[in-house]
């Protein structure tokens, strides 16, 4: 087989090149230390001794995602929004009418019915503990989006309607998540307008010239300011964004063609 010969030569070539590079020391020291910027982030991710520099979240990745580089994440959320809007634009004019379908066998359906509440519980816990342990809004949203695949494949597309999730409702919940993100972004400014204390957009904890800070402890339970609320809002936005996508993908092709009025091609 020619295919396997090419594959073997690629793997052997990569190994030989790696051996030669190591023998010659061509890449210099590799994998022995991180750069200074990484140490700066790691030192200040949870450091009550420097309150004006820290993000007060023990999870370094979450504190970078929603505090140190928060504006990056905000605009990446906008890119995500635009991609789903574009998908909706292709399907404009198609009503999400309930479509009869068979789905899979009874055993698969019962097992799936047990799995779905567990999946929801896991996703919520990933979102709610994102500031403390590995996890967060994006991870939880991707975990919950698996439910929409299960619904579409195991129960057929009509199950969305039976569960009371219409396309319009999914879009509303998705937009609610995005508005919640915007609310957290503008909350410090609103606080500033009411009380006259200086505060900045997306501010999480105290700064040198601003005493504003989100609550770090609620009833003795440690939360870490904006990352917690951003994670929950992003969870809502990402998971229902994917619900929208999989609802559109699971529509039957003949129904879509009929409603789009496109009968060319076939």
């Amino acid at each position: 087989m020619r295919k396997y010969l090419v594959l073997a030569s690629i793997v052997l070539g990569v190994s030989a090149l790696a051996y030669a590079t190591t023998y010659l020391g061509a890449l210099g020291p590799i994998g022995s230390d991180t750069r200074q910027l990484a140490k700066l982030f790691l030192m200040h991710t949870y450091n009550p001794e420097f309150p004006e520099l820290t993000a007060m979240s023990p999870e370094a990745v979450t504190s970078i995602v929603w505090d140190f580089r928060g504006v990056d994440t905000l605009y990446e959320t906008v890119v995500f929004y635009m991609a789903i809007v574009a998908a909706l634009a292709i399907y404009r004019g198609v009503g999400y009418s309930a479509i009869r379908g068979a789905g899979l066998s009874v055993i698969v359906r019962v097992v799936t019915r047990i799995l779905i509440p567990m999946n929801i519980a896991i996703a919520v816990s990933i979102a709610a503990h994102g500031y403390l342990a590995p996890g967060g809004g994006f991870q939880a949203g991707a975990a919950l989006a698996v439910i929409s695949v299960l619904l579409a494949v195991v129960f057929s597309a009509s199950s969305f309607g039976k569960l009371g999730i219409s396309l319009a409702r999914a879009v509303i919940l998705w937009t609610a998540g995005l508005l919640a993100i915007a609310a957290v972004v503008f909350a410090p400014v609103a606080f500033s307008a009411v009380t006259g204390v200086r505060a900045f957009l997306m501010q999480n904890y105290v700064k040198l010239d601003s005493p504003f800070a989100f609550a770090i402890h609620i009833y003795g339970q440690q939360v870490s300011g904006t990352p917690t609320w951003f994670n929950l809002a992003e969870f809502l936005a990402v998971s229902f964004g994917f619900f929208v996508i999989f609802m559109l993908l699971s529509l039957r092709e003949d129904v879509v063609r009929e409603q789009l009025g496109e009968s060319r091609g076939h």
Binding site: T62, P134, Q139, A142, A143
Partner: protein, 83 residues
């Protein structure tokens, strides 16, 4: 020696093998399955690179959502990569 480096190299080479098989496969359904196996090896690579956050987002995305969406696409269009 760091004991995680041997599985790290092994899984990344395995990812290369399955990526190649996915790219040259004529049957698109088999290509999606090879691509999912390649994603599983990359999940192991990410775990060994000490990135638990990225594992949590990569696992459902690359092993669950991509294959599902691509299988939807193949089911609605054509299955062969015409040569």
């Amino acid at each position: 020696m760091d004991p995680t480096l041997v599985p790290l190299a092994f899984f990344s080479v395995a990812g290369l093998v399955f990526a190649y098989l996915a790219v040259v496969e004529k049957d698109l359904v088999k290509a999606v399955i090879f691509s999912a196996i390649q994603s599983s090896t990359y999940t192991a690579v990410l775990y060994l690179l000490r990135a638990p956050d990225t594992v949590l987002v990569y696992l459902p995305v690359a092993v669950g959502l991509y294959p599902a969406a691509l299988l939807f696409l193949i089911g609605k269009t054509e299955r062969g990569d015409g040569e």
